[in-house]
């Protein structure tokens, strides 16, 4: 009976020693490999999904390139104010309004979430109601994306008795790039003063203290 007890004890000790020295280690290896395999299988599914999506792009490069060009015409990477002013001027002419004035901010320093920067535009146009209506419809249609934040119409009669509307439009154009407008250093730029006494003109620039005197005649 004692031998049996000792044998059972030995077997228990052997089993415990085997488990801690070998069994659990192999079991851990299996478990680690299984978890890593699941992750790799998930990665494979993601990769296959991405490849499938990119294959569609590769098979339709022309369509995608055209779409990207179109999107970049809406929101260009540089402010391209010349193109915008051209478009607005053509639109004003086509819709019959008179473009009286325009004030443009530089692109905002802080971009929005998507990385775009706002260029605030304040414009004044004059025309008849439906001409201005056409102008506003036109702004929505031009290649460059311009949104309107506010309008302010006031009406008056022109010399011929026609009702003329003066419209102030607060709008925003967008770009992804920023521009650095050089700051004018007053102390370096200095000021120019022109003085005319009789037929003698004196021009002085400070602080460089350059004085030019010209006698007329």
């Amino acid at each position: 009976m004692r031998r049996v007890l000792i044998a059972v004890l030995v077997m228990i000790l052997l089993a415990v020693a085997w488990w801690f020295l070998l069994g659990s280690r192999w079991n851990d290896r299996t478990e680690e490999a299984r978890i890593a395999l699941e992750q790799e299988q998930q990665a494979e599914r993601d990769l296959q999904r991405r490849i499938a999506a990119l294959q569609v792009v590769a098979d339709n490069t022309l369509e995608y390139q055209t779409a990207v060009d179109e999107l970049q015409r809406s929101i260009p990477v540089t402010p391209q104010m010349d193109v915008l002013i051209d478009e607005l001027a053509v639109l004003a002419e086509d819709s019959g309004v008179e473009w009286v004035s325009g004030v443009y901010s530089t692109p905002s320093e802080e971009p929005l979430d998507s990385g775009i920067r706002e260029i605030l535009i304040s414009m004044e146009v004059q025309g008849q109601y439906f001409e201005i209506l056409g102008y506003l419809y036109g702004i929505e249609e031009i290649d460059r994306l311009v949104t309107i934040q506010g309008i302010n119409f006031t009406s008056s009669l022109d010399g011929d008795g026609f009702n003329i509307i003066s419209a102030r439009i607060q709008a925003t154009a967008f770009t992804t790039g920023s521009v650095v407008v050089p700051e004018v250093d007053e102390s370096v730029a200095g000021t120019t003063t022109t003085t005319v006494v009789g037929n003698v003109t004196t021009t002085s620039t400070s602080p460089s203290s350059t004085t030019t005197t010209t006698a007329a005649g």
Binding site: M11, L14, L22, G23, W26, N27, R29, T30, A33, L37, E40, Q41, E44, L47, Q48, R50, I51, A53, Q55, V56, V57, A58, D59, N60, T61, E63, Y64, Q65, T66, A67, E70, L71, Q72, S74, I75, L112, D113, S114, G115, I116, Y129, F130, I132, L133, L136, Y137, E140, L145, T147, I148, Q149, I151, N152, F153, T154, S155, Q170, T172, F174, T176
Partner: protein
């Protein structure tokens, strides 16, 4: 037949102890053999799992190479998605001003004309909602002239009617008597909020469709 053992009982006891000892040793050896079998099974399972993992990693590396070959397409796709995000961001609050002013011209009643229109877009998250009309996307003030007070009232009713969903919460702020060329008139000013119906649909038009 009953077995007859003529050996001394001590020898029989020794033989029994020996058999007992062999039995114990045999049981321990059998147990060790079982542990060995379990070891082979566990080790084999671990190796198979590692081989599966290795094979999967090799497949993924091949897919990574395939993906790298599509880097131009990836760049193009990224440019497209960035562009759509930017346009969506820019058009977050895009009121259809042309349609709005067209509607003003359409609904304005006879015997009333407008002299001033001022409107601005607003962030709906910063405004209180109008009960029954939802979020507010802008506000508008309209000043005008009517022949008589009932004509001004007709304008307010028009502004507040369900016929024009883009405008809600209409309110008349002032009315006062005026005169044009010797005729009595009524000057009025009114205000209203612009609802979701005033929003444009440019987002759909501005994002070019591509095969997905």
């Amino acid at each position: 037949m009953r077995p007859i053992n003529l050996l001394p009982p001590e020898q029989a006891e020794r033989a029994q102890r020996r058999r007992g000892a062999f039995g114990v040793v045999f049981a321990v050896l059998l147990f060790v053999a079982l542990l060995a079998v379990a070891s082979v099974l566990l080790l084999g399972r671990a190796r198979r799992a590692e081989e599966d993992l290795l094979a999967q990693q090799q497949r993924n590396q091949q897919l990574q190479r395939q993906l790298a070959e599509l880097s131009d397409a990836e760049e193009l796709r990224r440019a497209y998605l960035d562009g759509t995000d930017q346009v969506t961001d820019a058009l977050a609050i895009d009121l259809a001003w042309g349609r709005f002013l067209n509607d003003v011209g359409r609904v304005i009643p006879d015997r009333v004309w407008l002299t001033t229109v001022a409107a601005s877009a607003q962030d709906p998250e910063e405004q209180d909602e109008i009960e029954g009309s939802g979020p507010v996307y802008g506000s508008v003030t309209l000043g005008g002239v009517a022949f008589e007070y009932p004509d001004a009232a007709t304008w307010i009713r028009t502004l507040d009617s369900t016929e024009w969903d883009a405008v809600a919460g209409a309110w008349v702020t002032t009315t006062n008597q005026g005169a044009i060329g010797g005729f009595d008139t009524v000057n009025f000013s009114s205000a209203a909020s612009l609802t979701q119906e005033a929003l444009g649909s440019r987002l759909d038009d501005r994002i070019p469709e591509v095969p997905q």
